[in-house]
């Protein structure tokens, strides 16, 4: 706020629904003044979603475990974790997940897994995607922009294989490099229109050198501002914890991913996972709304 005139110009732009330039975004990303950044991102976020914040309850299940044990009735998406050694193993895991999931979405694997499975099977990534999709996979869970050389090609293949709700992630790229990644994603969205969500906070966490709160909220805000054509900016509830996830909602995030599907409440119903996420969303000034793994609201 100590740069009033430039801030007013940026506020006029985002209020009018106009995109910010790469230069503006770069400057915003480099300033420690996070509150103006948060205000700008909040304007975009409210224009797209009003006061609604969606959340998704996910059942995480290792590919080689029994899905019937891990998939709780409250889960709205079954997410397969780990990497099977063979394509047949991956297909078997998807089929098993699909059998338990019923109508619910099934996601799993990363793009690197897809390439690895293709290499192992001596086939193409396109064919791997086709088989996984036919087996019942709804989404590739991790598409880390910082580890994919040709994101356009990957999106092309996903669309060709009928993956409709693409979610982009970041593996461990440093904060300084994330703005360019998000701008690239926004550019590709104009071509492919298949990206439903972007989860801009790193999925690979370094316990000895964790990201900082400033880093995290700036990353979320820059993602919201740089990619106004991507519907949702996500924050991972389990990975980043309730406090940071909640604050991120005031910096442009509109979707809380990876809420545990467990609904046991040994400390009372007010501290049950579902109540906790809803309470945090409301305390941030928003209205919670549950969605399914295909981004449809649950009535």
């Amino acid at each position: 706020m100590n740069t009033a005139a430039p801030f007013d110009r940026l506020m006029d732009l985002v209020s009018a629904g106009d995109p910010l330039s790469a230069g503006d975004l770069s400057q915003l990303a480099s300033t420690p003044d996070i509150l103006p950044l948060g205000m700008l991102a909040d304007v975009v976020r409210r224009r797209l979603h009003g006061t609604q914040v969606t959340y998704l309850r996910v059942a995480l299940c290792a590919f080689d475990k029994l899905f019937t044990d891990a998939v709780l009735p409250a889960a709205r998406e079954v997410r397969i974790t780990g990497t099977p050694g063979t394509l047949d193993g991956a297909v078997t895991a998807v089929e098993a997940a699909r059998a338990v999931a019923g109508e619910r979405a099934v996601s799993g694997f990363s793009w690197m897994d897809v390439e690895k499975l293709a290499g192992q099977a001596g086939t193409s990534a396109a064919l791997v995607l086709e088989r996984l999709r036919s087996a019942g996979l709804d989404a590739v869970a991790e598409l880390p922009m910082d580890r994919i050389d040709n994101l356009a090609e990957v999106l092309d293949r996903l669309v060709a294989a009928r993956f409709q709700h693409v979610r982009l992630t970041i593996d461990k790229s440093p904060a300084a490099a994330r703005t360019a990644l998000v701008l690239h994603a926004a550019e590709l969205q104009t071509r492919f229109a298949c990206i439903q969500a972007l989860s801009p906070l790193p999925t690979a966490l370094n316990a000895m050198r964790p990201t900082t709160g400033y880093d995290d909220v700036k990353t979320v805000a820059i993602a919201r501002l740089a990619a106004p054509n991507i519907p949702s900016i996500q924050v991972d509830w389990l990975r980043y914890g309730p406090k940071l996830a909640q604050v991120a909602l005031t910096f442009g995030a509109d979707d809380v991913d990876n809420v545990t599907a467990a609904d046991d409440a040994p400390d009372g119903t007010r501290r049950a996972p579902l109540e906790d996420v809803r309470r945090n969303i409301k305390a941030a000034g928003f209205e919670p709304a549950e969605r399914d793994g295909r981004f449809a609201l649950i009535a």
Binding site: M1, N2, T31, P32, D33, I34, L35, G38, M39, D42, P210, T211, T212, G213, Y214, D215, D216, V217, G241, P242, K243, L244, Q246, V247, L249, T250, D267, G268, R270, R271, D276, R279, N280, A283, A284, G285
Partner: protein, 403 residues
């Protein structure tokens, strides 16, 4: 008054009243609250310096007769898990504190009926004899009151005697919410009413001590009562100017009799920002990373805080209630610099002592906070036999020392 008018008043350096404070707290967008608080922080600390202290949070006893229902740390008199630290144990903790660049103990404990004032005086004198420049930031107002009642000595004399023994300053613990309706519901009215808590601080300030002030929110109080708490602190600060800093944190419910839920991270940032706006006569606001974690702790610097609190080294009370965050000096400094501020070490008076210690010499990394004692250590310090006990169990324990 509308939010915008109140915001303009704050930006112009005006003081908010109760009604304006409640309007801001309830209706101002979080970013606006942060913006107002940050503007006041910048006005008071234009050099972008953010301070921290290297000290150790030591709890000399967990035996307590107060029985506050929000506390998971205390053990009742006679409990097999009750402890009193020995002087030698405390000296060892001081040695470890000095080794990482520390200069002070934050020394607080339960209201133990078996520790007469002479125990505190002897402890303080022993510390000062061994470590003449080491500071004792010790005994919150309810502890001072407890000593006063137990020994039948008026509060001003208790403070005088403790100062003579080596007390340097008083921490603002035990304030919770300074509204008696709330204190009765939390079962902490008996340990100190609102007036009693504030009076101890007045006496301390008159005696020449500087103190801090705190607020634990998120139990049963209303928004108005949080603001009443801030207003009462502001009044005393207008009178005495003796508070160096204000620290707020959220109630930690795990393992407590009261139970319930913890207030959220956004609640914390809003409460901190409001405190910066209302407490216009306080220079320093600490971030409570120990209850909020490092990330929200760092974000506090955008919502009015100018101090990252203590490296702490040891923590027992909040940990007992479920929070177990840890930040060593390196991590505190990284967080301050990452937020665009300049880190400086300070003392309790908020005087800058210098740059980070770890940049001057090697200090060990600290990845978890220490505890008062190793698990299972139920030893009874030998020197306790020099002090009369009131409870049966303590009498028995002391009689058997040396057997």
């Amino acid at each position: 008054m509308m939010i915008n008018e109140i915001a303009q008043k704050v930006m112009g350096g005006g003081r908010v009243d109760r009604a304006e404070a409640i309007e801001l707290y309830r209706h101002a967008p979080t970013h606006l609250l942060g913006h107002l608080a940050d503007a006041i922080r910048a006005r008071k600390h234009p050099g972008r310096i953010v301070t921290y202290i290297i000290d150790r949070n030591v709890n000399y006893t967990n035996v307590c007769v107060a029985r506050c229902n929000f506390c998971a740390f205390y053990r009742p008199v006679g409990s097999s898990e009750g402890y009193v630290l020995g002087f030698e144990e405390i000296f060892t903790k001081i040695d470890e504190t000095i080794a990482v660049g520390g200069n002070q103990l934050l020394l607080q404990g339960g209201h133990n009926p078996d520790l007469p004032i002479a125990w505190y005086e002897d402890l303080f004198r022993s510390v000062k004899a061994r470590y003449p420049t080491f500071k004792l930031h010790a005994l919150s107002p309810p502890e001072v009151l407890h000593i006063s009642r137990l020994n039948e000595i008026p509060v001003p004399q208790v403070i005088e005697r403790l100062i003579a023994a080596g007390l340097d300053s008083i921490p603002g613990g035990g304030a919770e919410i300074l509204v008696d309706r709330v204190r009765k519901l939390l079962n902490c009215y008996g340990k100190a009413s609102s007036d009693e808590w504030l009076d101890v601080m007045r006496h301390a300030h008159v005696a020449g001590l500087r103190t801090t002030a705190t607020m634990m929110y998120g139990t049963v109080e209303t928004d108005e009562e949080r603001i009443e708490h801030l207003m009462r602190l502001r009044e005393v600060q207008d009178e005495t100017g003796g508070f160096t800093a204000f620290i707020t944190w959220s109630y930690q419910p795990e393992h407590t009799e009261r139970g319930g839920t913890e207030a959220t991270g956004v609640d914390y940032l809003r409460t901190l920002a409001l405190a910066r706006i209302v407490l216009d006569n306080f220079d320093n606001l600490q971030a409570s990373w120990v209850t909020q974690g490092g990330k929200v702790g760092q974000l506090s610097l955008a919502y009015g805080a100018n101090d990252m609190g203590s490296v702490m080294i040891e923590e027992n009370v909040v940990r007992a209630a479920g929070a177990s965050y840890c930040m060593d000096e390196l991590e505190i400094v990284v967080n301050i610099e990452d937020a665009g501020f300049i880190p400086k070490r300070r003392n309790m008076h908020y005087e800058v002592l210098g740059d980070p210690i770890f940049r001057e010499r090697d200090v060990p990394r600290m990845l978890s906070l220490a505890t008062a004692r190793a698990g299972g250590d139920s030893s009874v310090p030998e020197e306790l036999q020099n002090y009369p006990a009131r409870s049966r169990r303590a009498k028995q324990q002391r009689a058997s020392i040396g057997d």
